[in-house]
C-alpha cells in the first residue's frame, strides 16, 4: 500500500510544477486532522487531536511551554501546602467564560469535581490518566479567587498533570445534560466553537487577542487526501504526514515538512512474568545479560533512516532528553558483541543455528511504519541466532487487550507517550511493580525502591537527582526494555503559515501567524 501510494505521488509530482495554487481563506488557519472529533466535554476527551482542538476553547490553570517550563494561564500563582498534598492556585481577577459568566475559584473546583464524579461515568483522559496519575482527591474553593487541589500523597508530577486539566464555568454546565455538554462547549480559552459539522470540520472564532481570527480543523482520514489538499492550497497545516509523502511535499513550491523529534517512546518490552518464564524464550530473557546482549543486535539508526525517514539517536532509557541520563551512551549496533554475550550467558547456537526461540508480538498500524519496524527487528534478532516467532495483531481487537492485561510477549513492541517538563512522568509508567503500565512485570528493587526517595517531600533535590540517575542507570543496564527511539512527528505546512510544532504532539495555534 505504501509503495503504491509512493508511486502514485511520484506520478502526481510530475504534474505539480504547473499548478496554480489556490489560497485558503484569509486570516484563517485550516488544519487537516486524521481522526474524527467525538466530544467537547473536557472530562470525556481522550484522543490527542480532539484535545488539541479543545485546548483552544478551554484555558488551564497553568500551561506547559514547548521547552517544558510551566507558566501561568488562568492562575497567577501557585503555592503548595507543607505536606505536599495541597496545591493552592490563585486566579487572575476578571476572568470570564464565553457566555459571560465570571470564572471564579468555585468554577475551577466544580470542573475538577465534576470530572471525578462517578455518577457522570466519564472515561476520558482527565479522570482516567491525570487524576489517577496525581492521585486526586477533590478540589475546594477557599475564596473567590483561591482554589485548593488535594491529592493523596506528595507527587513530583502533580503540578504538570493539574496543568493539563481544562477549565469551564459551573452554571453553564450545571444547566446542561451530559449529552448537551459534549456538543456545546462553554469555554474559558482564546477561541469559541462556532461550527461543528460532525465528521467534516470544526470552526473556532477568536474571543481574545490572537494573531489569527478563525481556525478551521478539517477531518480528512486519508493521508494522501490531506497531502493533496495541502498541495492544492486549501489547507495550511497537516499532522501525521506519512514518511513516504515527505518528498513530494518538500518538492512542491508552496509547502514544506517540519520534523519534530517527538516524545513518544518506542521500545521492545520483555515480559518477565512467571507465567511467561515458562514459555520458549521466556526463560532466556529473565537473565539481564541476555537482555543486554539483544540490545547490541538491533541497528536502530538504520531503522530510523531507512524506515522512518529521519535521523535518530537511539534511546538510553525511558526518559526523553533533556532529562535522560547524561552519561549513558546508546548501545551500538554490534551483532558480534551480541553473539559473544549470548554465548557467555549460556545460550550458544544449536545444530540448527538457533540459540532459543521466542514469540514477538506487535499491533498493526498504531505507530509510524510499525509493521516494517518489527519485521526489521525480527530479522536482526534472527541474524544473531534468535528464532523469532513474529505475531502481528489487529491493534484494537487483538493487541490492546493483551497489553492491558499485561499478557503480551515474551517480547512485545509498544510506544508510550512522553513529555518534556519532568523526568518523573516519563518514569511514571513503572511507578510500582503492580502498575497497570508495567507491562513487563519487571521487579528490580533498585528501581522500585528509588520511588520512595522521589516521593519523599523531605528529600533534597540533590538526593532526588542522585536517586533518579541511579534508577536510570539500572534501567539502562538491566532494564526490561530493548531501547529503540522516540517517534518523530511529521508536520506539513503551507508557506504562508508561521508555526513551530512542539515535541509533545500538542498543536496550539494561538501563537501561529499567517503571511
Amino acid at each position: 500500500m505504501i509503495r503504491l501510494r509512493a508511486m502514485l505521488w511520484a506520478t502526481a509530482a510530475l504534474g505539480l510544477p504547473g499548478l496554480a495554487v489556490a489560497q485558503a481563506p484569509e486570516n484563517t488557519i485550516v488544519t487537516a486532522l486524521s481522526a474524527d472529533i467525538t466530544t467537547f466535554d473536557i472530562a470525556q476527551v481522550s484522543e490527542r487531536g480532539n484535545s488539541n482542538i479543545m485546548r483552544h476553547i478551554f484555558a488551564t490553570l497553568q500551561t506547559t511551554q514547548p521547552d517544558g517550563s510551566i507558566s501561568p494561564d488562568l492562575a497567577e500563582s501557585l503555592e503548595v501546602t507543607e505536606d505536599g498534598t495541597g496545591y493552592i492556585y490563585t486566579l487572575h481577577e476578571g476572568l470570564t467564560c464565553h457566555d459571560g459568566e465570571s470564572l471564579m475559584a468555585e468554577d475551577v473546583a466544580y470542573t475538577f469535581n465534576r470530572a471525578k464524579d462517578p455518577e457522570n461515568g466519564f472515561t476520558g483522559n482527565v479522570p482516567g490518566f491525570l487524576f489517577s496519575g496525581m492521585q486526586f482527591i477533590d478540589a475546594v474553593a477557599l475564596d473567590d479567587l483561591r482554589v485548593q487541589i488535594n491529592i493523596r500523597t506528595p507527587n513530583p508530577i502533580a503540578q504538570g498533570l493539574i496543568a493539563e486539566v481544562m477549565i469551564h464555568c459551573k452554571d453553564a454546565y450545571e444547566a446542561m445534560s451530559l449529552d448537551e455538554a459534549g456538543m456545546n462547549p462553554v469555554g474559558s480559552g482564546r477561541y469559541r466553537l462556532t461550527e461543528w459539522d460532525r465528521g467534516s470540520q470544526v470552526v473556532l472564532e477568536a474571543v481574545r487577542d490572537t494573531p489569527v481570527e478563525r481556525l478551521v480543523f478539517r477531518i480528512i482520514p486519508e493521508a494522501s487526501t490531506r497531502t493533496a489538499e495541502l498541495l492544492a492550497g486549501n489547507v495550511d497545516l497537516v499532522t501525521n504526514v506519512p514518511p513516504d509523502q515527505i518528498d513530494v511535499i518538500e518538492n512542491a513550491a508552496d509547502s514544506s515538512v517540519y520534523i519534530a523529534q517527538g516524545l513518544r517512546r518506542i521500545y521492545v518490552g520483555f515480559n518477565l512474568s512467571e507465567e511467561f518464564a515458562q514459555l520458549p524464550g521466556g526463560d532466556a530473557i529473565q537473565d539481564p545479560a541476555v537482555r543486554r546482549a539483544l540490545q547490541y543486535a538491533v541497528d536502530v539508526p538504520s531503522i530510523c533512516t531507512q524506515l522512518l525517514n529521519f535521523e535518530c539517536e537511539r534511546a538510553t532509557g525511558l526518559v526523553n532528553p533533556p532529562h535522560n541520563h547524561p552519561d549513558l551512551e546508546p548501545y551500538p549496533y554490534d551483532p558480534d558483541m551480541a553473539e559473544q554475550l549470548l554465548d557467555e550467558a549460556g545460550w550458544e547456537r544449536g545444530a540448527d543455528g538457533n540459540r532459543f526461540s521466542i514469540r514477538f508480538q506487535a499491533g498493526r498500524d498504531r505507530y509510524l511504519n510499525d509493521v516494517n519496524v518489527v519485521q526489521a527487528i525480527t530479522q536482526m534478532l534472527q541474524d544473531v541466532g534468535v528464532d523469532v516467532d513474529l505475531q502481528i495483531l489487529d491493534w484494537a481487537s487483538g493487541y490492546v487487550p493483551l497489553i492491558r492485561e499485561r499478557r503480551a510477549g515474551p517480547m512485545y513492541f509498544l510506544g508510550t507517550g512522553g513529555n518534556i517538563w519532568s523526568p518523573y512522568i516519563d518514569m511514571n509508567d513503572l511507578n510500582s511493580v503492580e502498575a497497570g503500565t508495567n507491562y513487563t512485570h519487571w521487579d528490580d528493587p533498585r528501581w522500585f525502591d528509588g520511588w520512595d526517595v522521589l516521593r519523599d517531600p523531605s528529600a533534597t533535590e540533590a538526593e532526588r537527582e542522585e536517586t533518579r540517575l541511579e534508577m536510570l542507570r539500572v534501567f539502562y543496564e538491566d532494564g526490561p526494555w530493548l531501547h529503540l527511539y522516540s517517534q518523530p512527528d511529521f508536520y506539513a505546512m503551507s508557506s504562508r503559515l508561521n508555526f513551530e510544532p512542539r515535541q509533545d504532539e500538542r498543536v496550539y495555534l494561538w501563537t501561529a501567524t499567517l503571511d
Binding site: G128, S132, D179, G182, R198, S200, A232, P401, T416, G436
Partner: protein, 324 residues
C-alpha cells in the same frame, strides 16, 4: 398482496435479529472493549468501574438479550465514543451516504443503459469492443485507487472538482429548509461527482454488461421480429418492445446494487473525507463502539429490506407473469 407483505414483514424481523446477533458476536470475538475506553494508567478498580459503566460486566447473552429488549422499545443505546444516543449518531451520518449512493446509482444507471443498448445494437463492431473494454476496466479498478487517481488529476492538477469534503443537501431538505437545500444543491453535486464515480464505476460497468446481454437475448425474440416486420420504427422497437423486457433483470440488479453501494462507500468516504455512515461504521468498529455498529447494522438492514421489497413490487408491476 397483503399476505406477501405480512410474510415479508415477519421475514424482516428474523433478518434483523440475525444481523444484530451476528454483528454482536463478531464484535465480542475481539475481546473486552473496556480497555479502549480507559487510560493506560487506569487501576484495576477504575477498569472495573468503566466496565460496569459501559455495560460489559454482564454475561454476553444477558448483554444481547438486554439489547434486543431495548431495541424493541426503540432504545438503541448510547455511543461509547460520542456519548450520544447511538441512533442519533447514525441518522446524522445517513443522509450524506444516501446522497452519495443515490447520485452514484443515478449516474451509473443513466450511463450504463445507453451504453448497454448501443453495445448490443453494434454487437461485434468496434464500438461494442470499446464499450465492453471500458466496462471491464470499470469492474477491475479498485474504487480507492480510482478515487486517489481522480483526486490527483481532476482535483489537484486540473482543479475541476473539490478534493474532499461535503455540502449537505438532504439534511436541510428533511429539515424543511428548502431554500438552503436548493442553494446547496449545485455545490453538493460538485462535491459528489468524484466520489460518486468512484463508488458507482463498478455498478456502471456491470449494468452496461447486463443490459447488453439482456438486450441481445430479447432482440432475438419472435415478438421483436414481429414488431420489425410490422414496419414499426427501430427506435420504437428498441424502447417499447426490447428494452421493456430487457429491463426486468436490470431492475432486480439495481435494487440489490443500492445495498451493495451502501456497503461499498466505506473506502470512498474515507478517501474523499465524506462524512457518511460508511466511515462512521468503520471508525466505530475500530473503536469497538458497539451501540453505533449495532444501530448502523439495523439501519442498513432496514434499507436493504425496504429496497428489496420495493424491487419485488416494481417487478410484479412490470411483469404480469409475477404474482405476489
Amino acid at each position: 398482496m397483503w399476505t406477501f407483505l405480512v410474510r415479508r414483514l415477519l421475514q424482516s424481523v428474523v433478518v434483523l435479529l440475525g444481523v444484530t446477533l451476528i454483528s454482536f458476536i463478531s464484535l465480542q470475538i475481539g475481546g473486552d472493549p473496556t480497555y479502549l475506553f480507559v487510560s493506560e494508567n487506569a487501576s484495576t478498580e477504575e477498569i472495573e468501574r468503566a466496565r460496569a459503566v459501559l455495560g460489559f460486566d454482564r454475561p454476553l447473552h444477558i448483554q444481547y438479550l438486554s439489547y434486543v429488549w431495548d431495541v424493541m422499545r426503540l432504545d438503541f443505546g448510547r455511543s461509547l465514543t460520542f456519548r450520544q444516543p447511538a441512533m442519533d449518531v447514525v441518522l446524522a451520518a445517513l443522509p450524506a451516504t444516501i446522497e452519495l449512493t443515490l447520485f452514484s446509482l443515478i449516474l451509473a444507471v443513466l450511463i450504463s443503459i445507453p451504453l448497454g443498448i448501443v453495445s448490443a445494437l453494434y454487437r461485434g463492431k468496434p464500438v461494442d469492443g470499446g464499450i465492453m473494454t471500458f466496462a471491464m476496466i470499470g469492474q477491475s479498478i479498485p474504487n480507492f485507487w480510482m478515487g486517489i487517481m481522480m483526486i490527483m488529476f481532476f482535483g489537484l492538477y486540473l482543479r475541476w472538482f473539490p478534493i474532499s469534503g461535503h455540502v449537505p443537501f438532504l439534511v436541510p431538505l428533511f429539515a424543511g429548509d428548502f431554500a438552503r437545500a436548493w442553494a446547496n444543491l449545485p455545490q453538493s453535486l460538485h462535491y459528489m461527482i468524484m466520489p460518486a464515480i468512484a463508488v458507482g464505476s463498478y455498478t456502471l460497468a456491470r449494468n452496461a454488461r447486463l443490459v447488453r446481454s439482456s438486450m441481445l437475448e430479447v432482440l432475438q425474440q419472435d415478438y421483436v421480429r414481429t414488431a420489425r416486420s410490422k414496419g414499426i420504427s427501430e427506435t420504437r422497437v428498441i424502447v417499447h418492445h426490447a428494452l421493456r423486457n430487457a429491463w426486468l433483470p436490470v431492475i432486480t440488479m439495481i435494487g440489490l446494487e443500492f445495498g451493495f453501494l451502501l456497503g461499498g462507500v466505506v473506502v470512498v468516504e474515507t478517501v474523499f473525507s465524506y462524512p457518511g455512515i460508511g466511515r462512521l461504521v468503520f471508525n466505530a468498529i475500530n473503536q469497538r463502539d458497539i451501540p453505533v455498529v449495532q444501530a448502523s447494522v439495523i439501519v442498513l438492514a432496514l434499507v436493504f429490506i425496504l429496497l428489496n421489497l420495493i424491487v419485488d413490487l416494481i417487478y410484479a408491476r412490470l411483469d404480469p407473469r409475477v404474482k405476489l
